[in-house]
Symmetry: C2
Subunit: 235 residues, 2 copies
DNA sequence: AAGTGGTCTAGACCACTTC
DNA sequence: AAGTGGTCTAGACCACTTT
């Protein structure tokens, strides 16, 4: 338990709000009222209210007051670890190849430019549930493939060589027929569409740095995302 | 342009960090140093640093200092509006029906309990690209279907009747064969799997309040999500 | 001991809203 | 004019890390 004043107040107000003490779009007591009630300075109250604001419980209106805010259900977020829902990551191979059409487009490179490809099968309970492949443009003077293996993570591989904090990531969740080698490795029938997560890493100027595909079997299950408040503690 | 001191400082530090002035896991100058440099009080500097902290650019270590934080690419978020990527929402019908197996499970109700179902086809450029259906347990004393129509949004419908700030939302993105009436309405071949987003609304105790399915055609495109810093302004 | 971030205070002034 | 949130200050004390 945190024993800081502002945290106590945050938890207290959280409880009050979630318990329905205030109706939707009701007003909270003013900063000065709250400061007096909790016997703290206005600065401390403001710190508490700031946290509630950031967590989406309330919004402040200048000159009016603080209002209860219904949870927003239009922004969803989910974790992607390339390890979530996976017991074991069976490394397949690293190779330097000419990219397929999709990889070419994703990395914005021409057909004669080769890429380093990392392949692995992801298992759960000794059953393959996903296939993950990552592509990085191959550059002369790159460390040998053997050395790359220990950087086989993505984007960690890139972080080691480029300014990591310049990178922006995005994911596209789609449905696609996997390449034959993926279907074979996952032991699923070919020509059957699968859930696929395409990952893109770009720098701030939009220049692609890496591209990855993650094919998920039925056993893997759906991709799940959540919305609503973020609370400082559970009830 | 904001002319507040703390915002000027935030933008300035953002630029410095993103331009690569500090290496990864480098230290920022101390609060006192920054306060002196920008000629503001320590409180103001802390407010600026707090914002950078919340946006994921830095982390503070007690007794040590502030450190540049590489962007995290394991948490992704996306918008779901049931209107994004859609021009026009063609309302199909509202009906009170007995639920299918999936809806029964999602709403945790028995087979003899009826549900109110809302159907609509979502179009882009006069072409159907998605089918959206929502299910709510039917209760005696509910307003008539005609009245419900104006609440045909989801979860707004529920918000009006239940404590809205008690609701938690989640989405499952999956691949599924649509029901015949969906395939027909979207003019896609039956028995072909589609991208589907299942939406769940529960209260804080996990009790289901609403369930929805959103079938996306190939024309709709992938679901896209983003990771990385959240910046206070664009460069 | 010196430096760092973390908490908290009392008070000033401003901008906005309501009466 | 009174009340509200928003910005900013100077200063105190604490907890943690380094030297």
């Amino acid at each position: 338990m945190e024993d800081h004043l502002y945290m106590q107040i945050v938890r207290r107000l959280e409880q009050d709000i979630l318990s329905g003490m205030y109706g939707p779009s009701d007003m909270l007591p003013s900063e000065n009222t709250l400061a007096a009630r909790f016997n703290v300075s206005r600065v401390t109250i403001r710190k508490s209210l700031d946290i509630l604001k950031n967590n989406g419980l309330i919004t402040a209106m200048h000159g009016k007051g603080y209002f209860i805010k219904p949870p927003q259900h239009n922004r969803y977020s989910f974790n992607f670890d390339s390890n979530t829902g996976v017991d074991f990551s069976h490394f397949q191979k690293v190779e330097i190849i000419y990219p397929d059409a999709e990889t070419m487009a994703a990395l914005n490179i021409s057909a004669d430019r080769r890429v380093v490809a990392f392949h692995r099968v992801q298992e759960r309970a000794w059953t393959p549930v996903a296939y993950d492949e990552k592509f990085v443009p191959y550059e002369r003077g790159m460390p040998t493939v053997e050395i790359e293996i220990k950087y086989a993570e993505f984007p960690e591989l890139l972080s080691a060589r480029h300014s990591p904090f310049l990178l922006k990531g995005s994911i596209e969740i789609d449905i696609a027929v996997p390449p034959d080698y993926v279907a074979k490795a996952l032991d699923v029938p070919p020509d059957k569409p699968m859930l696929v997560m395409r990952r893109f890493l770009r720098n701030r100027d939009g220049v692609p740095y890496g591209f990855g595909r993650n094919f998920l079997t039925r056993e893997f299950g759906p991709v799940t995302a959540e919305s609503g408040y973020s609370l400082t503690h559970k009830f």
